[in-house]
Symmetry: C2
Subunit: 434 residues, 2 copies
Amino acid sequence: MNPEMNSGLDQASLALAARAQDHVNSDRLATAIATLARFGGRDDGGVARQTLTPIDLEARAWLVAQARALGCEVFIDNCANLFFRRPGKEALPAVLTGSHVDTQPVGGKLDGAYGVLAGLEVIAALNDAGIQTRRPVEVVVWTNEEGSRFGPGTMGSSAYVNPGLLQGYRASTDGSGASFGDALDVALAAAGDLPRRAGPEAAAAFIELHIEQGPVLEAAGTPLGVVTGIQSVRWYRVQCTGVAAHAGTTPMDIRNDAMATAISLAQKLYAFVAGEAASNMKLTLGRWHVDPNSINTIPGKVEFTIDVRCLDESVLVRFDQQLHGWIDTHARRDGISLECFFSRTPTTFPQAMLQVVERGCVRACSQAGLAPPLRLTSGAFHDAMYLADHCPTAMIFTPSKAGISHNAAEDTDQHELYLGAQALAHVVTELANQ
Amino acid sequence: MNPEMNSGLDQASLALAARAQDHVNSDRLATAIATLARFGGRDDGGVARQTLTPIDLEARAWLVAQARALGCEVFIDNCANLFFRRPGKEALPAVLTGSHVDTQPVGGKLDGAYGVLAGLEVIAALNDAGIQTRRPVEVVVWTNEEGSRFGPGTMGSSAYVNPGLLQGYRASTDGSGASFGDALDVALAAAGDLPRRAGPEAAAAFIELHIEQGPVLEAAGTPLGVVTGIQSVRWYRVQCTGVAAHAGTTPMDIRNDAMATAISLAQKLYAFVAGEAASNMKLTLGRWHVDPNSINTIPGKVEFTIDVRCLDESVLVRFDQQLHGWIDTHARRDGISLECFFSRTPTTFPQAMLQVVERGCVRACSQAGLAPPLRLTSGAFHDAMYLADHCPTAMIFTPSKAGISHNAAEDTDQHELYLGAQALAHVVTELANQ
């Protein structure tokens, strides 16, 4: 995108964007969200739809049917990313929007799903408004954003931008030992009738609408956020190996307790982040595997993951040095292994895209009589993080109640979801007419 | 048992005990151990035969066939404990020996199994020596000693001594949600042809032969230990409840991280036990469950078990007070629940039984030209702990290499296993002729 294209704003194009925005239908969007949430829906309101599980494949088939009903062409690629294409007047690179529909083991109904369904709502609004855009518009469903079943996350979007990654991803296994490659082949076979895209195509822009999954917008009292970038993140796997032995008979001074080793490291990590309050660094020790995991056996192996994030990359660099230092000087260092298996420096979205996003958000907020949008950074990573390497990219956020996500209690007011879809319609339409 | 019965030692009775001891066959015992280890045997030498699993039922059927081949009558009771009875000359209460054949998720081939197979070896030795004892001898296989599949442990022996416990045990569930009651009914149905004992019968004595599962005998250089008692033990379940939320978006100061709570408690526990080196207190945090156990979600629930043991009960009383104090004063106390679900004060075996055990061990060590037996306490609990409430009880230990147990690497020299069975034969025969 050429920033100069925005400097002299085309009033006719903005009028089309406004018309698309005004045709977004709140009830239709709400119904779509409720319907998709039934795939893997739980009694507690949560959704359990990890990537490429049978229920995820059912959800994808339902989305394909929805897209076709809206007149879209549907494509799939080698990572099972789905593309719902509304043709443009000219054979130009498309404007992409979308997100993912896989969830955490227990997630909410909005994380990812909202961005995909709002994308389809934009297409429905364009249809209703009788608008034919200059460029094609494509709603994308990225595979395995969550990374909870097969690590790492954002497989679909990263492999789209860098197809060479896919071969390595195929070897990733889930808790039952099933490989991502095998699960992918099942998904591709199930979608056998869809035309396959061999690789990435040139794109005019990517815009992702997502719930914030944090408390900032709610605290600010605005329904919409213009996301300026994504904080840096590192994922580590720490494995502590000791000797499994009987809990009642092995004296403390001769036991090699893998859990004692893990706890001694974990408390250092928490202490480090407590000293970094000013930098707003975040630390999560989220996944643990203890072997043999028996009350009366000393743990022989403990593996845990570290998720650290910060807007200031230098804090993570210092954390990394400290972590290596603690392990190198640990009495049980021979039994400790450390692997950094995912790392991203901060992502910064281009100013020209932020201006387009801001226009859509300002109009939606203003028409609703609500506070103007807030600029903020994303604590979570998103598929947009990788798309930013491929084409001009930006994101829109809507508030998350109490900042809660990755949880059955994840929620956003329906009116705010509606305003987010309105903003998205404005942005997509403006970009698709450039 | 009347201690005075031992004061004037009956030389004819001791001669019979020595004859039984001398008929113990090392190769036959080794073959039996190797054969039973095939039920659930693993490539790494470990055995995976948790209680009442299909492979455990197969192992039990094999044991029943072995006992019948030795001329035993076989009985079962309502907790699926098996009794292999060699009749005596008189209708007197029997001398019981035995142990258990269930294992940890991955255990060794000796823990429990050794005591049962050595008991059958004693019966074979009595047969070979042509000895008919005054009292019946029974080899018992106690159900679910380990407690790793269904908690608590020592279900079979405790329900034998106190049948009222069984109803509560039936509700215990394993990781897959299956109940002990249902698993028990399957086991009882599979043993449909065995006569059922309605409740406990009077017993003259119980003597359990077991591997030490600790390092004391190996360090002392003796093949046999006379166990004077069992240290006290408490099992707790700690549940920390926080709020699952997104790892990247939730600021540290507003997150309620159940793992951070658990780690803060765990480090206090390790610090307490480090201050109790003089009392030889032992602490194991062996079983952990983290929910949702995902890299990029703050843990919403963390449950872990505490196993504490000490010869000095007062140390565990202080530990219990501290533990309650730490929870009561914890910033997250509302999210922490604590349950003590198993507790035993120390067990002390009667002196008269220790004298009988010592005679058998001294003769076996002396004939082998090895160091005399050592008196020691048991760090592990055993079925003998409950039998001590029912009849005069004692235990014999053989060394564990490097003190390792509850591990595939668990091992004991074949010659030491042989000497343990020899000692058992002496003790059982002496008791059975009283």
